[in-house]
Symmetry: C2
Subunit: 502 residues, 2 copies
């Protein structure tokens, strides 16, 4: 085979793997959206088979041989070219996957299935003792996982690589320390003032009205319903089957307008990223967002920077009032804007506002590092959790249910790399928005007219289309130079400075 | 490997294939129920990959070797045992699949995709000329397919084997001729009388009410919603992902009560068959209904013999009236019963009543045989269609749209074996019901109380649980002795004799 034949052979193998993964995604979506309870056992088996077939095909030594043979060709191409990126990224993924023994993967699936099931019961029962021994094994497996992928600077690095490839624990720790130093006084200043009244957001809002309004907004954002759809699940998510089929879900808790609406805006950001990947990358490992941080930058940008902005509501609030005259007819625009930007010290990460959210994330990130390092014992987690919430957020959970049992991440996966993406996403959302503003200073005016074309186009051009061609550090380098908290802090200070006359 | 190890190895390979097929079924369901248009291209690719992987794994010579090695063990077991059936049925499927060259399968998929697309456009445009050349190739491929699987008595036999294994063209031809001789005078006698008034069935019936009523009925039938669900599609169907997940769909045309309701009852019959397969057969080729005729016997039994019976409506009509007081409050039970059993000469098979339906099917079956034999030229099909409808049903379609272009079957598959199952199903539905009545004479009284336990249990015991352990001829032998039109004709004569005082 000559080089082009080898490349075609590699692409053909990767396309088959992409097809298996695409099928698995459809099954995962159905499992959460429409599957009847009786389907669960078989669904687990089928998804296990698809995962195994996909993994086996990827770690096939023939793939390694093709990558070896294509290395020189890849090196000869411009770094930006699709082929160079294909060979580079596939090799990186391949080298990671082959280092993990199959036995470890089986053990991991079995263990996380058991732990997840235990957590599902332990959380409502506030039963830390039930999951603690299982989580000890998770921690042990997380360390072993890091060791397979070593050597490393910090033991968390290989785990972080799984979600934010190329980001280093020490870099993030430094960045987060800077951010925390800025955030704590902002939160203090805001929460010393009387809280915003958001009681009118907790009336009975018929679901159909919320759905119609949310759909109208994200369609204006540029989410393409011809290549997606919106369904209802217990936990909102976005999922990709193909560039032509990227779906989102939301939930409709009773007496809430904000939760379903902003969840939909959030997931539409993830989905527009995936819909915007260049079709030339379909069927390869490059077809998909590059990291959890960059992904979260998009969900947070469209949810918060855009969706909670004054410009946005100056256009959309009359529409929302028309949809809900009984609930909002008497509520003025300023009052509404304050309410959807209410800041308060709280216990639950997923319900936290834009300002305090990162404090929740950083607590978890610090704990992941400490647990992996061994500087904190797992048995001390519940108390450490309470102590840190008291220190950082000034609140104390009455139990572990709303303490260290609140998030699924550690109970359904490894410890390490699970949380930093959320805050990296907030930081990046402001950096990307700033850069887009430099190119198109009239973006805020456009948003005020309900137009998002220039902002969406900048994101597509600079981020979406590239899929995973560039790692997050490479993409940051290309777009904004370097990771910096300045735009994000500036954004918060400006917005909340006005809101609270700080 | 010893015999038990070989059996385990065979089961493991078959389970993986079953998983791939189960995944493909989820994708097929989603494609018709929820997929956005933009997902089509990737979906086609993914489903192609799953089909290829499944086929390749099944025709693997290692499977043939295992089957050879297990032959003596299978022969040593009772015919009825799960292991004997597994080895016997798998070998039969294997020998069929290995005879078809991979190149033919690829050609078939490409050709039927093209033909189907052409038909989608040709039918509304009444454009036979557009599909005619494509259908000539379909006919040629159908003959080649039969030849791969030969030798045969009749060229249609290998094609019939694909849907009703073991049924022979000549047997069916003889049976259908007998049936036609009985049906034509019944239809004549009925249609000489004034038609039943069913105008009140064509009012505005809100969809939610139809859905609620239909769901209540099929739940009483024994369709398990814990292992299934009901959705909406353009064309109703039932589909199995696993014994624990068998879904159905229906449609809600404007101003129709009968179409959505009886479609749901029909599909619930297919679905109860699949839900009733013994869990011991899951993950093997035995997990699924044995033939299109036996499958249709269940859909037609629950739709017609039960769902259009006087006993059924004597129980359920008050419930339906309560659901639709404005539409049905003034309509008496007798009037309603006559309306849902209205008989009329018509052009469209899928809209035909219980009595004339088989005449539609037999026309198509005869044409399939004649086309394959070469005793009729494909170019003559449109005119032959009109002539035969005039002769058998006394109606003449104004065009080909409602003539030979009306059914998708030949335009999305091969010619041969596509239609006989519908009428075999009607015949068998009456035979099975008769046999169940002999065991439980109070079944009609139970139906009159809205109870279906004895009937469902008889079907599960005698038919459902066996999946594909027995071919249709074997199953017929075990349950009713031999295929016979007598119970079916008796059923029609009794029911319609009373309705029309014949």
């Amino acid at each position: 085979m000559d080089t082009q034949q080898k490349l075609a052979e590699l692409r053909s193998r990767l396309a088959e793997i992409a097809d298996l993964n695409g099928a698995a995604a459809v099954l995962a979506w159905d499992q959460q959206v429409y599957m009847p309870p009786g389907g669960a056992a078989a669904r687990g088996r089928i998804m296990g088979t698809l995962a195994r077939l996909s993994h086996d095909r990827f770690v096939d030594p023939a793939v390694g041989k093709l990558l070896d043979d294509l290395q020189a060709y890849g090196d000869s191409l411009p770094f930006d070219s699709d082929d160079a990126a294909l060979i580079r990224v596939t090799r990186r993924n391949y080298e990671r996957e082959v280092k993990i023994p199959s036995a470890f993967i089986s053990e991991f699936y079995a263990h996380t299935a058991e732990t997840y099931q235990a957590w599902v019961e332990a959380r409502p029962a506030n039963d830390w003792a039930k999951v603690h021994p299982l989580l000890e094994k998770t921690l042990d497996m997380s360390r072993r996982y890091a060791d397979y992928l070593g050597p490393y600077q910090h033991i968390a690095d290989p785990l972080i690589d799984g979600s934010d490839y190329g980001m280093k624990a020490e870099t993030i720790r430094t960045l987060f320390a800077e951010l925390r130093a800025e955030l704590v006084p902002i939160v203090k200043a805001i929460t010393e003032q009387p809280p915003a009244d958001d009681s009118f957001l907790h009336q009975d809002y018929p679901r159909e009205g919320i759905e119609a309004f949310s759909k109208a907004v994200i369609e204006r954002y540029g989410y393409d319903f011809n290549r997606g759809r919106l369904d209802t699940t217990a936990h909102p998510f976005a999922i990709k089957f193909a560039i032509g089929d990227v779906r989102i879900t939301t939930r409709y808790p009773k007496h809430s307008l904000s939760d379903p609406l902003f969840s939909t805006l959030h997931e539409s950001g993830h989905a527009m990223y995936e819909q915007g990947v260049s079709p030339a990358l379909e069927g390869t490992p490059l077809d998909g967002g590059t990291s959890s941080g960059v992904h979260e930058s998009q969900s947070r940008l469209w949810e918060n920077i855009v969706g909670r902005s004054r410009e946005f509501w100056s256009h959309f609030y009359p529409m929302l009032q028309a949809q809900f005259p009984a609930q909002l007819g008497h509520v003025g625009m300023d009052q509404f804007y304050r309410a959807v930007n209410k800041v308060q010290r709280s216990l639950i990460r997923t319900e936290a506002d834009e300002v305090t959210y990162n404090l929740h994330v950083m607590i978890r990130f610090d704990f992941e590092l400490a647990l992996l390092e061994g500087t904190m014992a797992l048995k001390d987690l519940p108390e450490a959790w309470h102590a840190r919430y008291q220190a950082d957020l000034g609140v104390h959970a009455p139990d572990d249910r709303d303490g260290c049992l609140q998030d699924v991440h550690w109970y359904g996966g490894l410890i390490g790399g699970a949380f930093q993406g959320y805050t990296l996403g907030n930081i990046l959302s402001a950096q990307f928005y700033d850069k887009a503003l430099q190119a198109h200073p009239d973006i805020p005016a456009q948003i005020g007219r309900g137009e998002f074309g220039a902002l969406h186009a900048w994101m597509r051009e600079n981020i979406y289309q590239h899929g995973s061609k560039f790692t997050a550090p490479e993409l940051i380098q290309r777009t904004v130079g370097e990771l910096s908290i300045k735009p994000y802090i500036q954004y918060l200070k400006t917005k909340y400075g006005q809101l609270y006359s700080l």
